[in-house]
Symmetry: C2
Subunit: 412 residues, 2 copies
Amino acid sequence: MIPEPTVTGPTVEELPGGTLLSVPGLRGAAVACGLKEDGQLDLAVVVADAPRTAAAVTTRSELAAAPVRLLRHQLQVRPRVRTVVVNAGNANALTGPRGWDDAEAMTEQAARRAGPPATVLSTGVIGVPMPMDRIRDGIERACSAPVRDAGLDVARAMMTTDTLPKTCAHVLDVPGSGRAARYTVGGVAKGSGMIHPDMGTMLAIVATDAEVTPAALQRILRSAADRSFHEISVDGDTSTNDAVLLLAGGSGDPPIDVDDARIYALERGIAATCRRLAREIVRDGEGVSRLMDLRVSGARTRWEARRVASTIACSPLVKTALAGGDPNWGRILAAAARAGVSLDEGRLALTLGHQRVYDGRPLAADEDALQRTFAEPEVQVELSLGEGEGEARLLTGDLTERYIQINAEYRT
Amino acid sequence: MIPEPTVTGPTVEELPGGTLLSVPGLRGAAVACGLKEDGQLDLAVVVADAPRTAAAVTTRSELAAAPVRLLRHQLQVRPRVRTVVVNAGNANALTGPRGWDDAEAMTEQAARRAGPPATVLSTGVIGVPMPMDRIRDGIERACSAPVRDAGLDVARAMMTTDTLPKTCAHVLDVPGSGRAARYTVGGVAKGSGMIHPDMGTMLAIVATDAEVTPAALQRILRSAADRSFHEISVDGDTSTNDAVLLLAGGSGDPPIDVDDARIYALERGIAATCRRLAREIVRDGEGVSRLMDLRVSGARTRWEARRVASTIACSPLVKTALAGGDPNWGRILAAAARAGVSLDEGRLALTLGHQRVYDGRPLAADEDALQRTFAEPEVQVELSLGEGEGEARLLTGDLTERYIQINAEYRT
């Protein structure tokens, strides 16, 4: 069951102008080292004042990039990170055995210069070896003077085809046995919403000063990612470089473990930051002019609900209908029908905006009202399969001529 | 293993100007009954001089249209068809219980007027009840005077967003125990290549005068469809109305059964007609400006090869790179990596045109030659997974701004 999206409330509040570096104990720096053109920022470091507990969710791609494989290996050995290097412009993916060596060299240099343990996230073009001379120079400069107010620059350095930097922070009160503890959660992300898998698609770094055990942190991240990044990344994580890294610690409070009731409050705060970043990724999707907030319910299992939602959200015909403001519900049901999930057309119910258009059979619809619904910047679509309790939710964008222009003309 | 595409040779020859009705004993007629606008042909009948053995492959959509469900039921009871009604403009899909009654009424009328058994194929918009008054009038007129030279009109009546009618015929010599028998295979199809699932996507009728047992005919059709329509219909058959109907008989020769060596020769001829129609469907795909002939080999199984080929062929990024003439091989491998098939990047080999660009690691490529390859109207792409013997092939088109224009502006 997917909880309600609204997480703002008495315990979670957005921090105006907040960034990843709003989290106490974090500093950062961004430099231009020639991975992108025109002297744009393309490499950043984020450094904590001491090692933090770390958790990650990474791509399910069969061809995970070298830095992703290295990150998994590092966290398996020891879930602690103090320094994160992140670069855009080169994904270090499909670069052969050399890719791993380069990623390892980057972490070793960053650990030496800013403090161990260090890890690395990369995004950019695939199949091109890292220009290590430039990278070494960049890491050297970025590690020399990290500061607290570099949050926006860090976000800018991560951008590839993004048009806007994506960073935010939330403050949350976590009720404890006695007084409530106040923690900060900050995050930064890049990505244009399942739109540019060959550009490494999506990266995010999220941090909090709450102390959390490794097991609890991994559980929190899995849950928060499931109702944020996984609700936009149709088909799950699919690019070579997708990764979300979560760092926790610094407050010195007793750590929150898996059986601690405070885990729920903390998960809410982290999910709030993740959801905000995820929504910004879809909004900034290439050529996206209109969003579809799709809910599928009544499936036999959550997996089946996700499968149906994914198939609808990926359908070029649904996406072009959305672009054209066309409430073409036949396209939505036809897409659902090829998801590989058993359906009964007599049990389906489809609602566009506030209007039910199909309920076991086509209903007479108010065509003008539907047109108005599909002219909105965000369209709500609800499909019930009438089979069980499985639910899923996906936020997706439309498919416009602008998308084709960007991607047909873009040269790696 | 997918046989070579070239089936022309001493035993299979294209019949210039041939149509479905080139098959001896078939006649047809097409009329306009107001399902399409502007008085275009939109309903046809095809009538054999006596009942024919029939086989069909139909959509795997969970929401198969009423005429598809009726066709399956009819062939299960008795695999014989004499009269086929086909209409465009209304798919009779997602039309509730009424849809089945309407489809049955159409077959009953056609059987009465042209000869039983009759069946019906429909294509067009989804979720709108059939306008039975117009349909009845159309069937009446079409059945009144079927003729041998209506092949092109039948093809035109089946069109929805197609820009060209699709029909052809082949003559084949089937070696027997003594003399070779000469048979004709004719076919007609509509469809814009996985481009318009909500318009019922693809319909085809194929016929031959060879006599074949029901079991052999089903086997022949399955095999011929696998290396024709299924090699363009990415994800298999996915719309509500997809159907290929194969009719056989009329020559009076002893029927070919499953253990008869002649089955292979006949399959070759039928596959030739199916391949020709399938290729025309992709070429006529909405907005298609360039084709990609994709072969995936070295998979553990044929299923895995198909899965990888499908994922590549459906990728918007691969399709837009193809539109832009951009030999962006990173997009091809990144798509393969999310097919849900286990891959080893050290074993992959990718060839674009005649140039290998990746062989366990990126290779230095002649960028000018790659550009020229991707400027051709058809691009050959070969991906070997290095795991086993599984192979698959898919012919697909690019994704252009024209596609978006057509589908965003199209109103059902």
